[in-house]
Amino acid sequence: MATATLSTVQLAPGQAAWRRFRRHRLALAGAVIILVLVLGSAFGPYLLPFDDTYIDIMKRFAPPLSGAHILGTDELGRDVLARLMMGGRVSLSIGIVAMVIAMAVGIAVGAFAGFYGGVVGAVLMRLVDAVLCFPTIFLLLALAALTEPGLVTTTILIAATAWMAVARVVEAQVRSLREREFAVAALAFGSSNLRIMFRELVPNAIAPIVVAATLNVAKAILLESYVSYLGYGIQPPAASWGNMLNNAQIYLTSAPWLAIAPGVAITLAVTSFNCLGDGLRDALDPRMNIP
């Protein structure tokens, strides 16, 4: 008993966090599912004998598990599993790249606002509040309607509507960390403001940033599915989980499997990233989630 207590005390912060994370079963399951989805999308297409854009009019609407097509074929006779995997590449990449852009913008805005405070901080944070007034889907669609749809624009637009939450988190962190001894020490040491911001303050706020980043991926995947489903995101013949559901409603009666596979994939991916984010929050900062 005594040794057990002792060894817990001696755990490094990283080890303690890993222990807490391991106990969070939902988060672990999420991490495993994400790994499976990523590997499946990355390498799966090489294992399949079908091309995701190969049209075979003779084999339209083959139901799942009938013959060679495991998940069946769509209205043009394309293999649903191949499209699901290629769509996974697109949807997951958009989720991750949009998150990286949103984090970069959010961290920059939040760090500047939190560090300088005063008028600069107030203006930047009111800008954050103002963008948050627009319901995300409305803003995203309005912007998408004004630009040429495609992989790059969709990614950038999703990032443009998702950076505000991060900015708020970082601003609050930087504002409170700025007064701590190590920040004052760095200032006394003659470090430049930029160096203090991005080498001292932001790294110390890494826990909530990592949590926000994970939840951001979930949000970005969800948003991609919305714009693509509504026809303003990834354009056919390229597949994404969202645009695979584009025509699913028309064939709902005759070919429901077209709607099931991509929907399950999106829900699995988004749930997994959300669970992972929750688990990371509990593991990295137990104080953040007391109730």
């Binding site: 007034c133 627009f134 319901p135 409305f138 803003l139 509504l230």
Partner: protein, 316 residues
């Protein structure tokens, strides 16, 4: 109190100015700017376009154009739809009722169900019910609303034949029961995410309250448990939910857009998508600004109401 309200109002006005600035910027991002519709139609020569540009004052400096545009927005002149020449405000208001009906129904379902789940989860923390509710909420927050709508249509309309697959009423019917029949599925779909959010917030609010000293005091003096829960715990746990209602509003509006699209519900969200399809920029911009203003007013009202019921807020 008055000071808090004035402060909060001033903040809201400032936000409205920034929001309008963003809206104006987006309008000028449109390919060809506000005149793109005429340029695309091909019926106007470059000289015509230049003349119209001058007549509409589009050659003036941007800040002046912005002030002009903002002034007209304030006066209620939001321009006219490219599609049928109706004023933007009348087009929006003719679709607003359907959206509000859907949003209100979904909110009522979500508040009742979500609060019930949250309270029960908090009282029986870590029970089977609580675990299921937590996992369920996580999945509900992650399901794409449109896909849940498709599944609902497949199950309840295609397979079971219980509910209509879309529209607000049967043509030629429109009785109360008919309207209600059409309302069930889209309201249910829209309520899913909201219920999950209300449940999560209610659970943590309730947990916070039942660990307070005054609850322990009430128990210590022998007050019956149901009275502790209703009079002391619930009343205090429900207060922060006012803020949740304000926070929910943007998600609710966005969800309504998606639910309306799937269920061909003739509301503002569907109008927005149709207008995007027609490149009807005045209506698109109008709805964008209108929804942002609604969100702004919603959070203002939530904050003020919260300050009214909870005196601690006014000081801060």
């Amino acid at each position: 109190m008055a000071r808090y309200v004035v402060n909060r109002l001033a903040q809201a006005v400032m936000l409205l100015v920034i929001v309008s600035g963003i809206g104006f910027a987006i309008l000028h991002l449109a390919p060809g700017g506000p005149l793109s519709q005429f340029a695309v139609s091909g019926q106007m020569t470059q000289e015509d376009l230049d003349r119209v540009t001058r007549q509409l004052g589009l050659d003036r400096p941007l800040p002046i154009q912005y002030l002009d545009w903002f002034g007209r927005m304030l006066k209620g002149d939001w321009g006219r739809s490219y599609r049928d020449g109706e004023t933007v405000l009348s087009v929006i208001s003719s679709h607003l009722g359907a959206t509000l009906e859907l949003m209100a129904t979904a909110t009522i379902i979500a508040v009742l169900l979500g609060c019930w789940i949250g309270i029960l989860g908090a009282l029986r923390r870590y029970s089977l019910f609580d675990t299921l509710a937590t996992v369920g909420a996580m999945i509900a927050l992650s399901i794409p609303t449109f896909w849940f709508g498709l599944v609902t249509i497949y199950v309840f309309s295609v397979k079971l034949g219980w509910l209509p697959a879309g529209n607000r009423q049967t043509v030629g019917d429109g009785s109360f029961l008919d309207l209600l029949h059409h309302l069930i599925a889209p309201a249910m779909v829209l309520a899913l995410v909201e219920t999950a959010m209300w449940g999560r917030f209610m659970r943590s609010s309730m947990l916070e309250v039942i660990n307070q000293d005054y609850i322990r005091t009430a128990r210590a003096k022998g007050m019956p448990e149901w009275r502790i829960l209703t009079v002391h715990a619930l009343r205090n746990a429900l207060l922060p939910m006012i803020t949740v209602a304000g926070l929910q509003f943007p998600t609710l509006l966005g969800g309504a857009l998606v639910a309306e699209t799937v269920f061909t519900w003739p509301g503002m969200g569907r109008l927005f998508l149709d207008s995007i399809g027609y490149r009807d920029y005045p209506v698109v911009m109008g709805i964008l600004m209108f929804s942002a203003t609604m969100v702004l007013i919603g959070s203002l009202l939530a904050d003020i109401l919260y300050a009214v019921v909870d005196p601690r807020i006014r000081v801060g």
